[in-house]
């Protein structure tokens, strides 16, 4: 080889001199023919020819340098073979396209001498640069086609150096301002991107490609068709870069923010601009081109591919630009696009990473805490959708953090609504808070809480229920409420919001083991709320109870109390399972509490139609879900006690409530008698109802629970046959083996400390305390609880106060034991305290600080 090169250089200088010597053309032609014949014969390196025919060649070449190389093909003998082969693939007229036969020769040569590949590349690239500069675009296309073919043919071998020249050419094309060259370059790049290289490349950078392709994605070329083509080329190019780099550790990390911040917004921009054009009615021309992929589809595919390749550590870098794009283009407010983006994201990423996206969204929500309600609502809406898609994987390992963030947003929103400003201080007037927007946001947050809870398994769901319960403020307990200005109204709103969240969380909650799913630490505080004077809160508590107890979707069947006075309850198609042992234990433990709350709930003057209807549903559910014989007896006693309550003259109950309680008792007894299937019992109930229908229809649901019930001004002479008789019922049920002793004893609700304590005129007057013995001893004490003067009382003094001081106007504690995850005994009633640490405090000591 070396000698060959020497020969070449020597002959070159000689040839140059030879130009000076004038020679006759005809001699040359003769020689020319002769050489041609020979070169055909010895189709090998120029060596042989150079040595043998040196003098003739000297003459020949002087001619050739003056003539275009293609005119005198024979001169190729002097050029390196690879250059000759390359030159030959170019036709005289670029319109003719690549010379296929010669291209095959070139390919064959490249395959048989791969070490020449890089020189071929370099030479092709040189030619191409020249052609670009001279605007000979036909040749440019041919050169690219040749390159593509060589790449495809040779990709099994090492193409490392060849790729350098190849990329240089692509870059050259991309630098051009001619759309067709840009697209040509991109297409070649895409072909290259699909080749899997086996050797890594150390010094190859795709910076320029990422920048340029991103720029092309934003093309604003005047002609819309060309603009679309350029944009699509940009998208494909980006896809190519991603494919090329994503698996190669040596190459630029495509997931670095500097790349992602270009790629992702470019894709989103196209996804979004497509949406705008799609909304227009498609012209017939567009319809005919429907087979072609639209930019939006392409973009979406590319975006999905990108996300699908993202590993755990890269999700953040890929999602952050999405959030920024949505921020910058104010796309949260519109919701639809943001939701669409995140649907794509959630469906495309590997499912085990979905909680990362949720976390980022939550973080973004926090970061936007002071932004307008519509933006926050948009983010929450996206969270809602995303949670539903990610299903079980949406929450990830930090369950309570998710709920904590949402609850914090709920609280912030309430504060904003009440104080009218974002910082709690006097409104500087930067932004006006729109109450109705905050309301919508609150609704959205509550729904989202429900959506997340739905993805959780039962045990985690009850943990979340406990967590939310622990957040419900009782005045005096959380004096550190940020809303100094919102006062009791703020507290009430928070209570309502959190209970609404609980309604969402408990909806569809089904447990086989009521006892562990509903520990007293949850049930007791919940029930204590059912005794407040606030009718809205009471109703929410009832709804929560309904969804907790209902495990067979029976609730809707009790929803219409008016239709329940029917002779045959089989039309309700109730689903009844046999009561399990745990259910029996549960009722043994909590039954009395439930009865008491139902009784007291009926007595509440502010109870309205909805309350009574819900109470009926609760009674009905207890009867079908949790009733054994003993429970049935108790429930019948309760119904009779309710009748007595309605008759009692001690209680200053309005006429409506009295009628309602009568109606409720009637409806319920009608239900339970049929469930017991004791004919005599049924007959008695039936008779009473018939009498009422004739004489006093206002004691039946049909006339009470309607929009404008016609009730007498006062209830007198409700006696005799319109009443259900305890003695009669005892008698008929005794015959069927029910416990008559118990039935004969009238039900009297046991007033406990809890009731006395929580039964106060308003929550505002109630001082209560959530004793957190453990957290006081913990090192994080300072940050956990900020003690106010009212609470600078040790637990011991409080306990003494309860024990010694009988005057309950002095200290009133609706004692709320901290929720305990294990469901261990915390018997409540203010007399003892649980020493268990709420689970959320074990996990998040700082979560107690709002």
């Amino acid at each position: 080889m070396q000698s060959q090169k020497n020969h070449c250089s020597v002959c070159c200088t000689l040839l140059f001199k030879a130009i000076l010597i004038a020679l006759s053309v005809c001699v040359c032609v003769c020689v020319c023919v002769c050489v041609c014949v020979l070169s055909e014969q010895y189709c090998c390196d120029c060596d042989y020819l150079v040595t043998t025919f040196f003098p003739y060649l000297a003459l020949l070449s002087c001619l050739c340098t003056e003539l275009p190389s293609r005119v005198c093909g024979c001169c190729g003998a002097l050029r390196p073979r690879y250059k000759r082969l390359v030159d030959n693939i170019f036709p005289e007229d670029p319109e003719d396209g690549l010379v296929k036969a010669n291209m095959e020769k070139l390919t064959f040569y490249a395959l048989s001498a791969p070490e020449k590949l890089d020189r071929i590349g370099a030479y092709l690239s040189e030619r191409l640069s020249r052609d670009v500069a001279r605007h000979r675009y036909g040749y440019v296309c041919i050169a690219m086609e040749a390159l593509d073919q060589l790449l495809m043919a040779c990709h099994c071998q090492s193409i490392n150096l060849f790729v350098e020249s190849f990329l240089k050419m692509v870059r050259k094309l991309l630098e051009s301002d001619k759309p067709n060259l840009q697209i040509l370059g991109t297409n070649s790049f895409v072909k290259f991107a699909n080749i899997e290289e086996d050797t890594p490349s150390y010094h190859r950078s795709y910076d320029f490609f990422v920048s340029r392709f991103s720029e092309m994605c934003h093309s604003s070329y005047e002609d819309p068709d060309i603009r679309t083509k350029i944009r699509m080329a940009g998208i494909k190019g980006l896809q190519g870069v991603v494919r090329k780099t994503v698996n190669d550790e040596l190459q630029a990390n495509i997931w670095d923010p500097q790349h992602m911040d270009k790629i992702v917004p470019s894709l989103l921009f196209n996804l979004q601009s497509g949406e705008r054009t799609e909304s227009r009615s498609p012209s017939p021309l567009q319809a005919s081109e429907k087979e072609k992929e639209s930019p939006v589809e392409l973009t979406e595919r590319c975006f999905r591919e990108l996300l699908g390749r993202a590993a755990y550590g890269n999700i953040k870098n890929a999602v952050t630009p999405v959030l920024m794009h949505l921020d910058n283009h104010s796309l949260w407010e519109g919701k639809t696009f943001a939701v669409r983006c995140f649907k794509i994201i959630m469906y495309s990423i590997q499912s085990q990473h979905s909680h990362l996206v949720i976390q980022q969204l939550l973080g973004h929500l926090d970061a936007n805490s002071k932004n307008s309600a519509t933006v926050r609502a948009g983010i929450v809406e996206v969270l809602l959708e995303a949670a539903a898609i990610a299903a079980s994987g949406s929450v990830g390992p930090t369950v309570l953090e998710v709920f904590n963030t949402l609850l914090r947003q709920l609280r912030l929103s309430v504060d904003y609504e009440l104080t009218g400003s974002y910082d709690g201080s006097v409104n500087i007037g930067t932004k006006i808070i729109k109450a109705h927007e905050e309301r919508q946001l609150q609704e959205a947050v509550i729904r989202t809480i429900g959506s997340f809870a739905n993805t959780l398994p039962t045990y985690q769901r009850s943990e979340v229920m406990l967590f939310i319960m622990g957040k419900i403020p009782v005045p005096g307990v959380h004096p550190a409420l940020p809303s100094t200005g919102s006062g009791p109204e703020g507290t009430r709103m928070i209570q309502v919001m959190l209970l609404k969240s609980l309604v969402q969380v408990t909806a569809g909650f089904q447990t086989t083991n009521m006892l562990t799913a509903l520990p007293s630490s949850f049930l007791e505080p919940l029930l204590s709320f059912s005794l407040t004077e606030d009718p809205e809160i009471r109703l929410l508590v009832l709804q929560i109870l309904l969804s907790l107890i209902d495990r067979h979707d029976n609730t809707p069947k009790f929803s219409n109390i008016r239709c329940v006075i029917i002779s045959d309850i089989s039309v309700l198609k109730l689903k009844v399972d046999k009561c399990s042992r745990q259910d029996n234990l549960f009722m043994k433990k909590h039954g009395q509490q439930l009865y008491r709350h139902i009784y007291l709930g009926c007595k509440e003057q502010s109870s309205g139609r909805q309350h009574y209807e819900t109470l009926f549903a609760l009674l009905g559910l207890l009867s079908v879900e949790l009733a054994n014989e003993e429970v049935v007896v108790d429930l019948i006693r309760l119904a009779l006690a309710l009748q007595d309550l309605a008759l009692s003259t001690d209680e200053a109950m309005p006429v409506f409530n009295r009628c309602a309680v009568h109606a409720l008792a009637a409806a319920y007894l009608n239900l339970i008698c049929q469930l017991t299937t004791v004919p005599a019992f049924c007959q008695h109930i039936h008779e009473v109802i018939e009498v009422r229908q004739k004489e006093s229809p206002y004691l039946l649901p049909e006339d009470v629970f309607i929009d404008n019930p016609k009730l007498p001004s006062s209830l007198e002479k409700v006696e005799g046959e319109v009443l259900f008789l305890q003695s009669k019922i005892t008698e008929v049920l005794g015959g069927s083996g029910y416990n008559t002793d118990r039935l004969a004893t009238p039900y009297v609700p046991q007033y406990t400390d809890e009731d006395r304590l929580s039964k106060r005129k308003s929550i505002g007057e109630t001082i209560s305390l959530q004793v957190e013995v453990e957290s006081r001893n913990s090192p994080e004490k300072e940050e956990v609880i900020s003690w106010t003067p009212a609470e600078e009382i040790t637990f011991e003094t409080l306990k003494n106060a309860i024990e010694n001081d009988d005057d309950d106007d002095c200290f009133l504690f609706p004692f709320r034991p901290p929720p305990s995850p294990s469901g261990t005994i915390s018997s409540g009633y203010g007399q003892s305290q649980s020493r268990s640490v709420p689970i959320y405090e074990m996990k998040f000591p700082d979560l107690c600080v709002y």
Binding site: F208, H325, N328
Partner: protein, 203 residues
């Protein structure tokens, strides 16, 4: 391997408020025309021009960014790799001048710290509507140690000078840097083999 067709390659990014004439400056320089009624740039625009300075071929990659707020996130991603920034304002628009500190903060945050920044007051053809006095802008530029130039894309005043001056400055810096750390490893790629060290290896 064939020679590159340039000795230096620089990336120049234009930034500044919307409507100050960034695109027009680039168009005037690269294509020699002043497009009347130029629309707002979408995202970012790309132009290339090779100039010869003292016998050396300098290729200028010009990235013209959108001034609109909504494209800020994508435009910021282009600052990082820039060798030079042309911070543009409109001399007939006080607002565009007042936003400059904000832009400088962005540069501080996103651009690399060796970037050459030049302040450009555009639209001097509208002298009768001038709102920002030359002296004020000069003082500001000096305080921020930036170069300052006033241009008119429409009349083609100083446009050529702007880019050529910038190129000179970049060459000077590149040579300076080359002397300072001769053994700097080259930045991978941009088509250069290891032997063709130049400015972009210095980012």
């Amino acid at each position: 391997m064939s020679m590159e067709d340039y000795d230096y390659l620089f990336k120049i990014v234009l930034i500044g408020n919307a409507g100050v004439g960034k695109t027009c400056l680039v168009r005037r320089f690269t294509q020699g025309l002043f497009p009347p009624g130029q629309g707002a740039t979408i995202g970012v625009d790309f132009m290339i021009k090779t100039v010869e300075i003292k016998g050396e071929k300098v290729k200028l990659q010009i990235w013209d960014t959108a001034g609109q707020e909504r494209f800020r996130s994508i435009t910021q991603s282009y600052y990082r790799s820039a060798n030079a920034l042309i911070l543009t304002y409109d001399i007939t628009c006080e607002d565009s001048f007042r936003c400059l500190p904000e832009w400088l903060r962005e540069i501080e945050q996103y651009a690399n710290n060796q970037v050459v920044t030049i302040l450009v007051g555009n639209k001097i053809d509208l002298a009768e509507k001038r709102e920002v006095l030359r002296q004020r802008a000069e003082d500001f530029a000096e305080a921020q140690s930036m170069l300052y130039l006033e241009t008119s894309a429409k009349e083609s005043d100083n446009v050529e000078k702007l880019f050529l001056d910038l190129a000179c400055e970049l060459i000077r810096e590149a040579k300076q840097n080359k002397l300072d750390n001769n053994d700097t490893a080259p930045m991978p790629g941009e088509g250069k083999t290891i032997s063709y060290l130049s400015c972009c290896s210095l980012n």
